[in-house]
């Protein structure tokens, strides 16, 4: 059905279709609409699930972990400080190999207090063992949420998935959305290590130095296998519903001399900048990173790269820029822009490309370069 919806409502609609048995959530701006809408579905009888309004994000993730360990599909949503409050349990969900799906509406971390878009919240959780994907449209948020359940629950993966969408820019912008009937697209969850009261067992007991690393290696092996599972899931989604995205999404990249690389809505806005740059004679393209974990393998040989990070790792640099430096041997012009919802237009992005200085870092809006 064709409707128009905000990114938040798109995620809620997808969750309704995926029909988790347990949803535990705590409201936080700008995510609140997701759990509010889901609560409405439950109240109206449109979604049969145990909806647990917990007293904190830490408890939300704990409830999802408990329910997931019992072998049922789970979902929660959060933002910013709420995500950070879950931190310890994010490690737990991944280490316990529980396929929890969570929407994180990217929002800046305080202080100073700020409710607008910023990727530092999610990127600061990059080493927890969660898969991370970033959407750029309401439709993509919807489709990706559906795919996230199947990917997380695949026996080759069994790791939690975080679906990210930019606060307000995507979460509160109304756009076209085609909802669908997933049918058999998401098979029933079969968790091989689900708690079974008929066969009591200890979970995650003290594991010594002789064995601990094996569990970590298993996580990494699953993270590597996840790339194949993502590809298969995308393939099947495209065959059934006609839309495909990929680990990365390319726009006018075939013959491009310079690539703009970014995540989320900034990368979508960059398409408009690229159209303008091409009119000026600059062969530019946009390489939008969708899956940040597992990180895609990129071939950037012979191309200049302008990376826009809506995040920062203090004392180091833009997280995305440095991820590219280490995996694709790029020497990017690293632009730090859009922090805490800083306004970045397609005109600004075109300027980043025109003024590029490979190997340097530029903080948009800061007068003296670092």
């Amino acid at each position: 059905m064709k409707i128009i919806a905000t990114g938040n409502y798109a995620v809620a609609e997808a969750v309704k279709q995926a029909a988790p048995w347990v949803i535990a959530a705590y409201p936080i701006t700008p995510q609140t609409e997701i759990v509010e809408r889901i609560a409405q579905f439950v109240t109206r009888g449109e979604l049969a699930c145990d909806y647990i309004p917990v007293e904190s994000e830490h408890s939300a993730m704990a409830a999802c972990i408990g329910a997931s360990a019992a072998g049922v599909r789970t979902f929660t949503a959060t933002s910013s400080q709420g995500l950070l409050y879950m931190h310890e349990l994010l490690h737990w969900a991944a280490g316990a190999r529980l396929p929890v799906v969570m929407a994180n509406v990217n929002r800046a971390v305080g202080p100073p207090w700020n409710v607008w878009a910023d990727h530092t919240d999610a990127l600061s959780q990059r080493d927890t063992g969660w898969l991370q994907v970033y959407a750029a449209t309401a439709q993509e948020a919807y489709d990706t949420t559906l795919m996230a359940f199947r990917i997380a629950e695949d026996e080759r993966v069994l790791l939690p998935v975080m679906v990210n969408l930019d606060g307000f820019l995507l979460s509160h912008t109304m756009q076209d959305l085609a909802t669908l009937e997933p049918g058999s697209f998401i098979p029933p969850l079969h968790l091989p290590h689900a708690i079974d009261t008929a066969h009591p067992a200890a979970y995650a007991p003290l594991t010594g130095p002789k064995d601990y690393y094996r569990f970590r290696w298993e996580m990494e092996r699953s993270m590597r296998d996840a790339k194949r599972v993502i590809a298969e899931t995308e393939e099947d989604f495209a065959a059934r519903f006609g839309r495909r995205y990929g680990m990365t999404t390319e726009y006018r990249c075939e013959d491009a001399d310079v690539l703009v690389i970014a995540m989320g809505t900034l990368a979508k806005e960059a398409e408009v900048a690229v159209d303008r740059l091409r009119e000026e004679g600059t062969r530019a393209g946009v390489l939008r990173i969708r899956w940040f974990r597992p990180f895609p393998k990129l071939d950037l040989a012979g191309r200049e790269v302008v990376v826009i990070d809506r995040d920062y790792s203090f004392g180091f640099g833009g997280v995305l820029a440095h991820s590219l430096c280490s995996t694709a041997r790029a020497e990017p012009y690293s632009v730090i822009a859009g922090l805490g919802g800083q306004e970045v237009t397609h005109g600004d992005i075109a300027s980043f490309v025109r003024d590029r200085r490979p190997g340097e870092e530029h903080w948009f809006g800061v007068k003296a370069d670092v």
Binding site: V115, F168, L266, E269, E271
Partner: protein, 175 residues
Amino acid sequence: MFEIRIHSRGGQGGVTAARLIALAAFRDGKHATATPFYGAERRGAPIIAFARIDEDPIRIYSQVQNPDLVVVLDRTLVPVVKVLKGLKPHGAVLVNSGHAVTLDHQRVHHVDLTGIALAEDLVIAGEPVLDTPVLGAIARLGVISLESATKAIAEMFQDPRNVTAAERAYRELVL
């Protein structure tokens, strides 16, 4: 692409008006987006919201810089906010007002949305509803069709007085 910026105060329905415009344009068979710009959300504070309408999918998320149409739901914002900022050379301005308004030495379109809402008894929590009647005035300017405007209103609100008020604003807009 047709771009709209709406000025209102928190609680007056500027954000909802943008959403209704996008929904109506969508029902007209076009692509549309509606984006609120939230500051510190509180009743009475100046708020802006944007709507974009195009034949092609819309890829822009940043704020509208050069609107084709500026809508002012609260006339008291005029001395406070630069409502004409970035307006395109032949852009239109629509102000909620019972009498003629001059902005920057130019007459602008006006319609008494508050009066219409009060006359139709469209009042919620003591505040006249402006977001549904304004859709009729915007339809009159040709941005969306009246049919889709009333459809969009009916989809979002059950009270039929919302549609009646929009139809009145369509007729009563002073061009």
